[in-house]
Amino acid sequence: MGSTKKEREEMMLRIIDLARSVRERKVDPFEVEVWKLFDRLHELLPKIRDPRELYLDILAVLGLSDVVYHQGEWIKHRSSLLYFDPLLVLWKLRSLSTEELARVMLKSWHPIVGLECITPQGIREAMNYWATLPSLAERGEGLEVEEIETGKVAKEELEKLLLMERRDFTRTLDSMHEELKAAAGETGEVKYWDFIHADTFEETVKRAWLVSFLVSYGYSTLEVDPLEEEITLKPLERQQVASKGEPFSVPISISLTEWKKRRKQNA
């Protein structure tokens, strides 16, 4: 039994692995039959000739010793005042709300009181650091980076990119405003994504861009429902400029993936 070299090695590797599981709190140390395993190792020892096997035997014995140590620790912990059933603790953690859990911490918390201060030695170190610090120009040396400045996209550029027709921009916006009002119909509102969605991704981006002007110029309101993650457009008959409150921006990301997903849904 267990006489071939392969079987002996497998046996010892299993013991080493079991001991590791105990160390990592994955196995209850009392589930390991330590004496039985020591007996098995005792039987195998006279048959071992190979140094690798001897090494594994040493590791297995050390592993079993470690299991015994963890059994001792387990008893110590169970008998200490800090023992609480892990399952019960887990169940409680799941059942309590965030605020109740925060209160638990507060009730057991006694923050350290301390003051931050700088010592003469700290000042000396700071001075030395400052004195030996290379200048910004020196520090930047060796970094091969090309600086690209941001710029505005001119109307002509947009024309080149076919993002804007040759028609007057205001007329384009007016036409979009009319289209929005028609899409909103009697309900007076339309889902943002339904409105901007077009047959091509480029056209969709263009419509989103134009809608952003309608909203900015006060021809439509844009409402975001953070819970449902829905954006609604409500066109206004006449331009209205917000009279109170801070103006704010609503970034809306339009990705090709998102467009494809919506096109699939619409289909």
Binding site: L81, V89, R94, L101, V113, G114
Partner: protein
Amino acid sequence: MPEEAKSTGPEPDEAAIRDKLSRVAQLLMFRRHRQPGAKSWELRKTLGRNYREIIDMFDREIQKIGLVVKRVTEGEEEDEDSARYYVTMKEHPVLSDRTFGWRIDDMAALTVALSYILSKRGKAPLNEVERVLQEKFPKWRVGYNIDRFIRWGYLSEDDEGMLYVGWRTRAEIDQKTLLEMLLGKEGGRRVGGRS
């Protein structure tokens, strides 16, 4: 000269004690290293062999203003050489007062992490703690919080990915009260626990 020294005997003693008390205050309350507080050897070096008596006197003084000296040792043994002394609040803070810049979510996350580790005899694999936290908090916040708790000393991590209770937890958190409060609470109302 000896006669003169005798006649003014008690005054220098009192002055020396007062001086030592102020030295303790400086050592314990002004942060000079990465960790606050002071090690026992630092206190012994500055205050002499009877440093614990001086600390006791200082403790009695600061208790009057709601503070207390906390002694924390490495491991469970009463090993004075490894002891570190801190000044902490005597009572716990009240949620309605202030939370010292902590978000409620983060406090709750620390409760979950610590309670789980404590219930597992003081150490638990990082991925298990993450899994438990993810039942209540967004995944991105879990990793962020664990990193911060380790950096602040509430948790510590070894090379094998095991999480332990950190030095700050031993100094600031009454671990028994934490678990008692947790198990003594029913959803929505406070039932027991030490205040």
